[in-house]
Amino acid sequence: MLRFAASRLARAALTLAMVVTFAFLVLIASGDPADIIMGSDAPPEAVEAFRQAWGLDRPIWEQWLGYFGAVLTGDLGRSMRDGRPALDLVLERVPQTLAITLPALAIKLGLGIPAGVYAALHRNSFADRAVMALAVAGFTIPSFVLGLLLVLVFAVQLGWLPSGGDGTWRHAVLPVVTLGIGGAAVLARFTRSAMLEVLGQPYIRTASAKGVPWRLVVSRHALPNAAIPTVTIVGFMVGTLIAGAVVVESVFSWPGVGRLLVTAVANRDLAVVQCVLLLVAATMVMANLVVDLLYGLLDPRLRGAPRGAAGG
């Protein structure tokens, strides 16, 4: 188990290093900062001095190492718009985003998993078909359309809830519902197929043939095995807690990380974009790491298995 954990940790670190390298490469490829900041008609000596001052004349790999060092010490540059450190700008938006994504995650888990399990246990029943129809609808209706439809009904027509902005809990209702419904549908569909897969296995037939009550077959044999693939998608949902609300935050003018990112992209505020990118990648990698370790706990068969055999 220790070796398993260590190899997963090494992989997570490697992936993060790749993300940082990606950010660095994109930064290099997007143009010479000296030209952009100094302008094209600056005297060559001034440009040269600027390049020396910022280390832009050094070989690429030295710049790369320097960039790595800066990222590791939390120095992610300053926002071009208000000159504040990008990291601070991003971090102060995180609680706002979590305020809608955490309740939405609760809805996804609380509705999606039971609905999926129920549908699988009552295959081809009316409830199963209803769950599947809703799940397909949840997948095919984009979140911005769903959000705007909810606004049209509950804010414009009925006037029950505000259409956007923040301040009170009432402002959070529509964003949370928009995020939660779509995710619950995806999760229900996934749980159902994981559960069906397990219910078709010979050991389920064996267990019920030897006289174990169906209730126990489901709770002892089927659910733990169906939990293994389901953990992956839940891990993915946890990993996107910070980034998963980009579109919905924009629909409802919710002042979270996602909206900050969209504004930063529109203004080409590169330091902020980069900071969000790294933060999101770090969350995803952490979530994936936890999922991998949970896999090891849930399924002893995977502990020694090489990467790739488990899917991923």
Partner: protein, 293 residues
Amino acid sequence: MPEAPLAAAAPVAAPPQTRQERPSPLVLLGLCWVALMLLVAVFGDFLQPFPYTQMDLRNRLSPPVGFGGTWLHPLGTDELGRDVLSRLIASVRTSLVIAFGATVVGAVLGTTLGFLAAHFRGIVEQAVLALVDFSASIPFLILALAVLAFFGNSMGLFVLLLGLHAWERYARIARGLAISASAQGYAGAVRQLGASPWRVYGRHILPNIASTLIVSMTLAFPEVILLESGLSFLGLGVQPPDTSLGNMVGYGREYLTRAPWILLAPACVIVLTTLSVSLIGDWLRDRLDPTLR
């Protein structure tokens, strides 16, 4: 039963299930809708009642037929008096062309990398797998936003960027299937006969795994449409004066209270199209792909 060979190829241990031999009515409806969209995309120029940028200032915010509007503008007009139906037709074409382009780019790229990994193994394979890990570590929307921020936006870049979506899925499938195909007799046999790797992969392995890849493409296609419309909705995808479905929704949002039809028409088209393609994809998967069941 005409489909018997496929059904018989399924493992014996699989639970008995009612495999659908014919497309259900829903799938047929989906096929009709997709056919209609394809016709609209191909013949859009002849179908548009007006050029999609033409303004008609005397008929601004005119509602659709049935809500007090006239047949002059069957789906109404926007705040500049531009015909919503014409804009919708132009948008369908843009969105479908982008989604097709991006899906093909993703499939070609992913399959090629998957084959390379399967053929060379060793360090090449590790590198491809590391790239797969990398793209799984960032939600694609965030990656796309970052690239757009750094490089700005143009149509070509946008299609290439969306093509990167789901490449890792094809890579994983192609690698896995190519490795198992190499272990089967036929690939070894043609290799023994002196076929080049190009021939082995292109003429023998690719046709054998094509159905799985086509199913993945059908399943990825609606996701690409949703991504494109999401980015365009945010104002970061297709730029005016070009128009796409997401673009129209984002634009119509400002007239949500006064003229909801500007937004509802493209929203319906997005939902119906993704729904139809998903239904067809699921049906194809059940029909064609014994490995996924």
